[in-house]
Amino acid sequence: MAMGGGASFPFQWPSDPGLDAVALPPLPTVVPDAAAAGVAYYAAADMHAAMPSALPDFAAALAAMRREEEEAAGIRLVHLLMSCAGAVEAGDPAAASAHLADAHAALAAVSPSSGIGRVAVHFSAALSRRLFPPTPSPPTPATQPPAEAAADHAFLYHQFYEAGPYLKFAHFTANQAILEAVHGCTHVHIIDFNLMQGLQWPALIQALALRPGGPPSLRLTGIGPPSPPGRDDLRDVGVRLADLARSVRVHFSFRGVAANRLDEVRPWMLQVSQGEAVAVNSVLQLHRLVAGDSDSDDPARAAAAPIDAVLECVASMRPRVFAVVEQEADHNKAGFLDRFTEALFYYSAVFDSLDAASGGGGAVDAAAEAYLEREICDIVCGEGAERRERHEPLRRWRDRLGRAGLAGVPLGANALRQARMLVGLFSGEGHCVEEADGCLTLGWHGRPLFSASAWRAEENNHQSDSNADASSSGGGSEESNISCSS
C-alpha cells in the first residue's frame, strides 16, 4: 500500500483518520457476488463502516445454504445406500449396482468430513465389495498371514482405544465390577477372554494394591490367539504386567491360553483352583460366538451355538463376577436390509462421537476409523460362518445369560459416577453414561453405543477363601503357556 511519507509501518489501521483519504486504494462500489445475496457494498469512504455489518450476513447466508445442501445430499445418499441394500436382499444385483453407482456419485457432493460422509464411504465400499468380490481376493483379515493380521489388529485396537472413550469406559467399568465383587477375598483369579495388550489390568492392579487391608494374591489367565512361531505375545504381556505388579508389591502370576476361538477353551485349561474368587472378563467378545450358520432367533437352534457352550463353561466356574461389555446394537438380524440399516445408523453415531472425541473438525484418527471399518465390512459382506460381528442388544444378552444360569449384578452408583467422570475427561459434550437395570450404557446424544454389565452364577455358595496357598514367590512369577489346537 502506498503510504504518505514518513509512516514507519507498512500497514496502518484504516480508522486512522490521517490516512483514510490518502493511503487506501479506491474500492469498488458494489461487489458483484454479494449483490446476488442481496447485499451491496458501499463506496470506499463508507467501506469500513459498512463491512462489519454486511460481511457476517453474507457469510452466514452462504454457510446456511451450504449446510442445507449438504444435509439434502446426505439424505439422498442414505436413501441410495438403503435402496442398494434392499436390492441386494431381493437378489437383484443389477438394480443394486445401479443404486450403488448413484450412491458413489452422491458421495462426491457430500463433504468427507461430515459424519454421514465418512460413514457412507465405508458402507458403500462394503456394499461394493459384497456385490463385486475382488478376485483374486486381496488379503482380508481372515486370509492374511496370522502374524500380520494379529499385529495389524493390535495396532488398530490400540488406536481405537486412544481415540475414543469406549474401550476406556469398558475397562474401567469392568474393573469396578470386579473390584467390588472380590472385596475381601484373598485370592483372586481373573480370566480375560481377550487379553490384547492387557491395557485393562494396570488400573485394577493399582486399585487392588491400594485397597484397605492390602492387596490379594492375583492370578491372571489371558486368552488370545496363538502367536506365530518364535514369538509369544501373551507371555510378553504377562511379563509386563508382572513387572508392574511387582513394583507395587502385588503378588501376581500369569498364564496365557492360546486359542483361536473361545469355544475351544475348556474349563480344565483355565485351572481354576479351589477357594479362589474367580472373575471372568469379556470385552466385545461374546458376540462373535453367536449363532453359527443360521441367523434364526429360534432358541432351539441357538442352543447349539458356541455361545452357549462358553456361557456354560463360565457358569461352571461359579465366578464371583462375569463382567460383560458389548456393543449395544442389533446387527444380527436375519434380513440384510434390516441389518444394513441398523448398522448404518449405529456407525453414524459412532463416527460422530469419535469425531467429537477427537475435538471435532473431522480429524478422526485414520487407524481408529480403519478399526471400525473392519467391523462394518464384516457386518455387510459376511454371511454365515464368515460373519463374526454379530452384535446383539442388551436385552437379548440378558436372556442368553439368564438361560445359562447367570444372574445380573447391579453396577451401582459408584461405577456410574466414575464412568461419567472418565468419559467426561476424554470426550466432548454429547457422550452420556446412563444406568438401566443395573447396567451402564455409554451413548452418544441419547443413542446407546456400548453396554457394560456384571453377572454371577446363581446360587453361588461362597466358601470363605482360605489363606493356605502353596505358592511362595513374592512378587510376580509367571507361568508357561498352554496351547490349544488351533
Binding site: H158, S247, V248, G359, M421, L422, F426
Partner: protein, 239 residues
C-alpha cells in the same frame, strides 16, 4: 535471613524491618520474595503487593499473616518472569534471589499448593530442582483430597512406582479438577481447583497406572513408537 524465618514462623511483622541482617538486605529480601509473589498476588487480588516494591520497601510491610499466607498459597500465574519493575524498586540491588537455605525454602514450599510449586519451579534452576521434590508434590496432592482412607505408605509406594506425584498431578489430577470445575477438556487454564473426592482420585490413579504401563519399555503394540516420556521424574522401577 532472620526476617524470613520470622515470617515463616508466622511471627509478628514488627521486627522485620528492624531485624534486617544488612542495611537494606531485609527489605531487599522481602521485595525479592515478593517478586515471586507479584504475579500471583495481582492475579488473585490478595490485596497486598498491588503497590510496587519500591513503595513497599519504604512503608512498613503489610501484616505478615496476609503476606506469608498469600506467599505460598497464592494462586499463581503460569510462572511468568518476575516483573521488570521489581528491580526498578529503587534499591538498586542486583543480587539474585538470595540463598534462603534449602531446608527453609523446602518448608515453605511444603505448604504450597500445586500451582505454586509449578511457578516456583520457574524461578531459577536451583528452585526448579527443589520444587521437583516428590515430597512437596505429595503434600500438595494429598492436601487437596478429602480424607480418602488410603494408607499413606501404600499410596506413596504406588504413586512413586507409577511415575510420581508430580506426574500424577500434572497429567491426571489437574484435568479432573478442571473438568469438575466445568472447564471443557482441552482447555488448560481454569478456575480455582476444587477439592477432589474419592471418585476423582480413583479415576486419576487409574489413568496414572495405565499411562505408566503404556510407557513401560517394550510398549505395545510393536509397530507404534510411543513418544517416550521425557520426564522420568520419580519413575517406575522397570526397564
Amino acid at each position: 535471613m532472620k526476617c524470613r524465618s520470622d515470617s515463616s514462623g508466622g511471627g509478628d511483622d514488627r521486627r522485620i524491618p528492624a531485624a534486617a541482617a544488612t542495611g537494606d538486605g531485609c527489605s531487599g529480601e522481602t521485595s525479592k520474595k515478593r517478586r515471586t509473589e507479584e504475579p500471583s498476588s495481582s492475579s488473585s487480588g490478595a490485596g497486598e503487593c498491588s503497590s510496587t516494591p519500591a513503595s513497599a520497601s519504604v512503608q512498613a510491610p503489610p501484616p505478615p499473616t496476609q503476606r506469608e499466607q498469600s506467599g505460598p498459597d497464592a494462586r499463581e500465574g503460569e510462572g511468568e518472569q518476575p516483573p521488570v519493575d521489581a528491580d526498578a524498586g529503587g534499591e538498586g540491588e542486583q543480587e539474585r534471589v538470595p540463598d534462603l537455605g534449602e531446608d527453609l525454602l523446602f518448608e515453605v514450599l511444603m505448604r504450597a499448593e500445586a500451582r505454586t510449586l509449578a511457578s516456583a519451579a520457574c524461578v531459577s534452576r536451583g528452585w526448579r530442582q527443589l520444587a521437583r521434590d516428590e515430597r512437596l508434590w505429595e503434600a500438595a496432592c494429598v492436601r487437596e483430597w478429602a480424607n480418602l482412607g488410603f494408607s499413606e505408605q501404600m499410596l506413596r509406594m504406588i504413586v512413586l512406582s507409577f511415575g510420581g506425584f508430580r506426574r500424577l498431578y500434572v497429567q491426571h489430577i489437574r484435568p479432573v479438577q478442571l473438568r469438575a470445575a466445568g472447564v471443557p477438556p482441552g482447555q488448560r487454564r481454569g478456575q480455582v481447583p476444587v477439592r477432589l473426592g474419592r471418585d476423582q482420585v480413583q479415576v486419576s490413579l487409574s489413568l496414572l497406572s495405565t499411562s505408566f504401563f503404556l510407557n513401560m519399555p517394550n510398549a505395545p503394540p510393536p509397530e507404534k513408537d510411543k513418544d517416550n516420556d521425557k520426564d522420568k521424574n520419580g519413575g517406575g522401577q522397570c526397564g
